[in-house]
Symmetry: C2
Subunit: 622 residues, 2 copies
């Protein structure tokens, strides 16, 4: 527990709060944009937190005992950066000349280019789920006494992801997680749904398993008491502080008024505001240091990963190989895994069985699934998160934001494409390659056999950024020998001769169909080159270009995916990047809405099976 | 209220429930896949509903007074289809030979290829949000006495979207919405998070504003009483029935046992199950008919839409033109609009001001935003849903499922790309074109000026499927005259001559940059063709092919989007579809992670402004 609070403490916190308000106004007015009023409502809450409760070594942001402070309401960045000034890690000059400027680290919404920021926020409803990930790491992996304080806005409480987060926080007994909800009643375009109905907020949070503290968010003594209790790691519940506040608090011309969201005060108005708030201050205030340290953040420990081996020709599903390889990777203490309640389908259950202490069941909550991975990545772990590939679409905003968070997370999506058969289109991932390729800095992998799937899973452990492995439901023959290598950005040429007339490109099930098509073509005396494009992003430009040159530019690209943004686009992007291109493309993809059926029926109906590939090749040669 | 229940009614419901169980087993065993045990747990609930409470004219599925029945737990399709048999609209033969078979309408998860299905389900947590959309239409648009009954699974209560739905249902006082939660304790891979903790489920639902009924889901009298009360349209709250059930109820070998999710019973076991359940039955049971009718589902009423006009050269943001046009479309009674609490940014607020009775504020809950549109589309309305384009990523799973629902919905995403400036990457849509292009049957539009934006908005009203309009934050010069036409699948050639050496292709801000680049090139004596590719999907193959042919295959494609899956891919797909292609492509896109800055700084830093475009053109000509 913190030291008993004195009147001087509270007075200092009050002064600090005014400074944070003044600096929020000054910085946003100087930038010509930003959200001062959304900062001012939470200034008292943050002033008490930072001066009295946040245990943080500001000289050592990576200290394993540091509390974490996440602004889920990322638009209150002026407040966050004003805190950084108040604790002395950002100068007043940087604040005034950097905020929202080109090239500055003080971006419009916080990102981890700042060493004190764990995760990027600004898409509402993400900071708390990310905080659950950090808190899971703190409690179960690092075993650190740190707390995770998350400042939420009231508008974002309408996001379902907030409730996924609280649900998991209570399920995992995260007493180290404290959500502070700044209930200032006003959203962007007008009043929020619940206004100042603190009772309803409190009832919801309590029903989701939190300890709840309802307070006046401008009463520093009440704030202090709530933070002291909420920050107590004893017990087994997360805490939610619902704080009634006024948007624009402290400046009479904007306080609690509509029409001031996301608007800097004009200069003259800002001057009046600073006067009304008592003038500029340059207090330097720091709170307590870490209460202890967590376990050292693990490296790979040089552990030797023994990947599973498969016999050529043996039928093994790539999703099974993912599970096998993930379990093998478990010898590395930095590898953690989580799944969306389908681990017996994705085969993440193999890791869960072998390393239960590093496996986190996220149930059917894909947004929280990805957010948990992001939070753990922020703590130095190497998370693998899996579900059906189709359901990763549920978390696209989180995946996009993970890239902005510079998080290194690994996603595995099973049951891609029409190949899954009878379950029908709701379970078929047909957009996932497009979705993941478009993520900044992503790596997209799509193995066709168990050997490559296992090797690529292992490679993902050491990749930076967002990496994605697309796996297939059915079991198909192993194509490669144990020990074959599959560099990221590479490909495998499975059939080639000096007289190839056409190139067939596939991945996953369509590689097997392309191989069968090559056999059919060979029977007609047509020699086809066959390329396994297991690395969809980055794609193997050299091999693709060489193949195009060798086969008269004739390429049949086949994918179990909609035509847009997937394998076809990857090939075209690669070829056209290489310079002047002369090509004849047949692009076979899933162009009609599929229904149920057997895999063979659906591959045929979609026009992506071997006979269609062979026909397309013949037409290119006609 | 329904007639008082008699012992005979309850006995009939009990018999019907056994029939539904037997048929769920028979159909899934015959198909060799499916979810019989998830169907058996809810059989009593559905038997009482269908025989006593569901007001439905089975001969007229489009009756405006029909209740709606949505299986949010879409994997219980054997139960749903067994109901269709019991009411006499699907034969036993179709059930036994069609379920999950190729070409059959009885797909693995329900889709609206069946006339009694409103929306596709199978991605969990979507049926209830969709049901909110239907209930909104019923209460506020159709003014029909129908109820919307949604069968939910317990596993899907972990999805945040469920809580977005209940939040909106209570906000909009949807007493016509009843969620029936089948709490059978077992998920796919093991026990659910909350097991049979009905108290917690009930507390959560109550906190989110629902009337809650906690019952034994196998006690037909208790079910009847709860359905009778919950179905009462009086009051202003949605209802949630939390029903304790047993997975696999009625067959001792699987009842309440793990390991039986999503598995059909082997034939011998199925035979034993049918015996234990009392044998096959072929009851024909229907409940009451509609209690009245709703307003006729509106057409466009031949209303003349007077689109706003803009002066060439006037600076108008395309998002503003969207709002103007949307408000103009309001003369059509079939047009409805909704927004994610940013209507003053998307300019949907113009429609809200003019037609408040057809505007629905969804606050910051993008999943529910799209689901509301899908539900209203199922009722014959033409919804437009808007938010920042970046935040549509939050709803990708819903958009994907909307396509499977054959829903015609219109999405408008504002603030695309780095052009937005200081707010930083969290608010920049840089993946949206890839995301929307990959949706089956989608139309993707990206206007560069107000005239075309308004015209395309109007065109969207009559488009089938998922259509998407990408709008830009800043105001740029109007390029076209009022009355110019912008057919879907078309483009505009803004500069051309008989001696064009290179083609510059852009849309939105990059079209303006391309025009400026053409001017710079002209100063060097280089003539450039400039194409406004406002229709990204479908793209104008003829114009693109002709331009490539006329300019030696030299194309500079510039987009304010990540390089994958957007404008560049649209152009390459169009050109390569047209046959043998010889091209030299410069593809300018956002390849580095942006930060804050002015629009000009960020366009320049991303390499997508006029000087970069002109340089790229010069390099192609070098």
């Amino acid at each position: 527990m913190p030291a008993p609070v004195t009147d001087a403490d509270l007075a200092l916190a009050g002064e600090l709060a005014q400074q944070l308000r003044v600096d929020s106004i000054r910085s946003s007015t100087s930038a010509g944009s930003g959200h001062p009023t959304s900062s001012m409502s939470a200034a008292d809450l943050m002033a008490v937190l930072v001066s009295r409760h946040l245990r943080y070594d500001w000289e050592e942001p990576k200290h394993t005992g540091n509390d974490h402070l996440i602004f889920s309401k990322g638009h209150a960045s002026p407040l966050l950066y004003s805190i950084y000034k108040a604790v002395g890690v950002v100068s007043d000059e940087e604040l005034m000349t950097g905020y929202r400027r080109f090239g500055s680290r003080l971006e419009g919404h916080p990102t981890p280019v700042l060493p004190w920021v764990d995760v990027a926020t600004g898409s509402l409803g993400q900071g708390l789920p990310d905080g659950v990930g950090v808190a899971l790491a703190g409690k179960y992996l690092e075993e650190s006494p740190y707390r995770v304080w998350v400042l939420c806005g009231d508008s974002e409480m309408a996001e379902g992801s907030i409730w996924e987060a609280l649900d998991k926080a209570s399920h995992y007994k995260l007493s180290n997680l404290i959500a502070i909800v700044d209930i200032n009643r006003l959203g962007q375009r007008g009043p929020t749904e619940l206004s100042w109905d603190l009772d309803t907020y409190a009832a919801r949070a309590a029903a989701f398993g939190a300890r709840v503290f309802a307070i006046d968010g401008h009463d520093v003594a009440a704030i202090d008491a709530a933070l002291a209790q909420a920050g107590d790691l004893a017990g087994d519940k997360p805490s939610v502080i619902v704080a009634r506040t006024l948007k624009g608090r402290g400046f009479s011309e904007v306080e609690d008024r509509e029409g001031w969201h996301g608007k800097p005060l004009p200069e003259a108005m800002a001057e009046r505001a600073v006067v009304e708030l008592g003038g500029e201050r340059h207090l330097l205030v720091r709170g307590p240091g870490p209460a202890g340290a967590g376990k050292p953040r693990p490296g790979s420990d040089g552990a030797e990963v023994k990947l599973p081996g498969y016999e050529r020709g043996q039928k093994v599903a790539t999703r099974k190989a993912y599970g096998d390889a993930l379990a093998a990777l478990g010898v590395r203490r930095d590898v953690v895994a989580m799944d969306g309640e389908v681990s017996n389908s994705t085969f993440a259950d193999e890791f869960a069985a072998a390393y239960p202490e590093r496996y986190f069941e996220m149930f059917i909550a894909e947004q929280q699934l990805v957010a948990a991975a992001v939070g753990m990545a922020a703590c130095g772990y190497r998370p693998f998160a899996s579900t059906f590939a189709a359901f990763l679409t549920r978390a696209y905003d989180f995946i996009r934001m993970a890239a902005i968070s510079r998080a290194s997370i690994r996603l595995a999506g099973s049951h891609c494409g029409v190949e899954i058969g009878a379950d029908g289109p709701s379970q078929m991932a047909l957009e996932d390659l497009a979705m993941l390729r478009a993520v900044h800095g992503s790596t997209v992998l799509y193995p066709s056999d168990a050997t490559s799937a296992a090797a690529l899973t292992a490679a993902m452990a050491d990749l930076d950024g967002i990496s994605y492995l697309r796996t297939t439901r059915g079991a198909y023959p192993v194509l490669y020998d144990t020990g074959d290598t599959f560099p990221i950005g590479g490909s495998k040429v499975l059939r080639s001769s000096g007289t190839d007339q056409v190139t067939l490109i596939g991945a996953g099930i369509t590689l097997h169909e392309s191989l069968a098509a090559a056999d059919q073509l060979a029977a007609d005396g047509i020699t086809a080159r066959v390329i396994d494009l297991y690395s969809v992003k980055p794609a193997d430009t050299a091999t693709l270009t060489a193949a195009a040159a060798a086969t008269g530019g004739r390429l049949v690209i086949t994918e179990d995916h909609h035509p847009e943004g997937g394998l076809g686009s990857a090939v075209l992007d690669a070829l056209t990047q290489a310079g002047r291109t002369e090509i004849s493309i047949a692009h076979l993809a899933v162009r009609e809405m599929p229904g149920s059926g057997t895999p063979a029926e659906l591959l045929h109906a979609s026009g992506i099976d071997a006979p269609h590939i062979a026909d397309a090749a013949r037409r290119l040669l006609a």
